[in-house]
Amino acid sequence: MYSIRKRLNLTIIASMIVVLALAAGFLHVRVADQIEAVFDAALLDKARALISLTELDEEGLEFDFAEDGVMSEFEPGESAQYYQLWESDTELLIKSPSLATSDLPQSKVQPGQHHFSDLTLADGRAGRLVAIGFMPRIEEPDEEEDALGDMPVAKPIALILARERASLDHTLWVIGSTIWGGTLVVLLLVALLVWRLVGSGLAPLSKLASQVSDIDESNLGARLQHSGTQSIEIAPIEHQLNYLLERLQSAFEREKRFSANVAHELRTPLSELKTLAEVAEMVPDDPEQVTRFFRDVGEISGQMERLVITLLELARSEAGLLRADPEDIDLARYCDQIWTHAINGQSNSKTLVNHVQPNLVINTDRDKLGMILSNLFVNAVSYSPDNAEIHVSAEIRNQNIVLQVKNAAMDLKPEDIVHMKDRFWRKQRSHDDNGHSGLGLALVHALARVMQLDVQLQLDQQREFRVTISGLQPGG
């Protein structure tokens, strides 16, 4: 895991270091070159001045600059400059008094050419020289004299002019340190600015992260909020996170409600069992009571078993573990079988009126259809008035078979219909309804989904409740 802020800061600052260093380096080199060039140009100009003061006449070479008092900078001293001239690269013609017994390095240079180089002066200072080759200027002969008579032959001369370069180096150092120091200061300021700007730019993200980290399972009702104008980058994240939170909260509440309902549904029969056990110990000599208690224990166990089986089936259907295993079934006969098995003589006053045409064969999962019919019949018997008839019928629509179970349900209201497939929903939340836990229709829907059937619940004006199952495939 890494910090976006840290990474952004480091990346931007590193980039700035590279860019500013390149810029500073380039500037330094350019300025230093320019200053050195100016220095060299001045040196060259001076050399040319010396050349202009060199003349060849009938008496030989004359060096006017070497006369006493003409150019005092070539005298020995702290800021002395130096020159030395050779003829034909070999014969020393003259050198500045400042050189005393030392010499400047001899350099071969053709007339009209020059070059610069660094050297260490005789007094140990760093210096710079220019070596320039030239032909001495020949003095114009007087008109009266025979110019061509005694004029010596001009030979190439090499002039080496040198001076200390400490002032140049100092200037270069000052410029260099100014450029690099300035660059460093700018870098520090940029780094500070980048740190603050990145921090301020990422502040909405940091706030979002802080709000998100404060949310746990105890405050899923909290929603992410922002103050001021929302950024277009953060808005979709916040919106999506709030949407996910809403769904998570809803799932948690559903889970909590489901757990509470399961706990509640188990607590009551457990309470009955516990009390029965404790009270039974108090009446060991009352066989009638004890027998009754045992019968109650059997009923309670059956009720709990049904609840657990239903919950397991629901869990399996949710986990996708249930598969439909279709087979041919004689529907009319199967309805009668399920009625007999599910009702088991418990409601003699209510009858099943089977309208399904004999020998109608469907192809579906026998066990699951049995569970669906069983739940529908038990519900119909439990919630219909005394002596009611429960009708089951089937018809073919669009090559599918539609199965319908209907019964009178006087207590039901139209607004109840939407809740009927909710888990643990009961018209009465009490336990007077023969151990119904409110899971029957939820299981019917879950099984129907596995079997790819559609289940519709309807209540008409006459309070007749109808469950319609469509999508059954004909068999045979």
């Binding site: 009955e272 516990k274 009390t275």
Partner: protein, 221 residues
């Protein structure tokens, strides 16, 4: 101690009623909220055991109604709802106690006894009247070191009057408090129990605790 048990589970009603009667409580049974209000309207109960999820009228509505009607019976809620908000709502509406299912039967009995003691302003579960000790927990009566053998009905009369010392109760009031609504008991039966009780106390050397106020009823001073 006369109780009304309001519980929609018939099986739980049956076992609880059997157990509570064994512990000397007089128990009337109601299976829904409306039936409970009808019982409460016609009887004076020391305590009401009230389930919350009831047919017709839920437990909290029953509780609100009886408190708004000025009925001061102690109410013990017995519910499978274990959430704090359920307890708070029940207690705030005027319940005196709250027990979550499943529960220990003995704890229920102890809480009911404690309710009875609070109602009669008694702290000690052993009542002492003129040297006669009545242990309301073990339901044993002693004088000096002698255990006085009593039938359940005789003990009920003695404990009822001893825990309400100084108050006179008529035959009808005693019948109302000591017998459930389904019992048919005559004044003679009450007189017979009191007479037998006096004889047993006398046989054990104890003083005659139960006084008769002619035209009014009986009391223990």
């Amino acid at each position: 101690m006369k109780l009304l048990m309001v519980e929609d589970s018939e099986r739980l009603q049956r076992s609880l009623c059997t157990g509570l009667q064994k512990h000397g409580f007089t128990v009337d049974q109601a299976f829904d909220g409306e039936e409970a209000l009808a019982f409460i309207g016609h009887n004076d109960y020391e305590a009401i055991i009230l389930d919350l999820m009831l047919p017709k009228l839920d437990g909290l509505s029953v509780l609100s109604k009886l408190r708004s009607d000025g009925i001061n019976s102690h109410v013990l809620i017995l519910s499978a709802n274990d959430q704090t908000e359920d307890r708070v709502r029940g207690l705030d509406l005027g319940a005196d106690d709250y027990m979550v299912k499943p529960f220990a039967f003995e704890e229920l009995v102890s809480r009911l006894r404690a309710i009875g003691r609070r109602r009669n302003g008694v702290k000690n579960p052993v009542l002492e009247v003129k040297g006669v000790e009545i242990n309301t927990v073990s339901r044993e009566v002693r004088h000096v070191d002698t255990v006085i053998p009593l039938t359940p009905h005789e003990y009920q009369v003695l404990e009822f009057l001893a825990s309400r010392r100084g108050r006179v109760y008529s035959h009808d009031q005693l019948i109302d408090q000591l017998y459930d609504a389904n019992s048919y008991v005559t004044r003679n039966a009450v007189e017979a129990h009191i007479s037998a009780l006096r004889k047993r106390l006398k046989a054990a050397g104890a003083p005659n605790l139960i006084k008769t106020r002619r035209g009014f009823g009986y009391l223990i001073e």
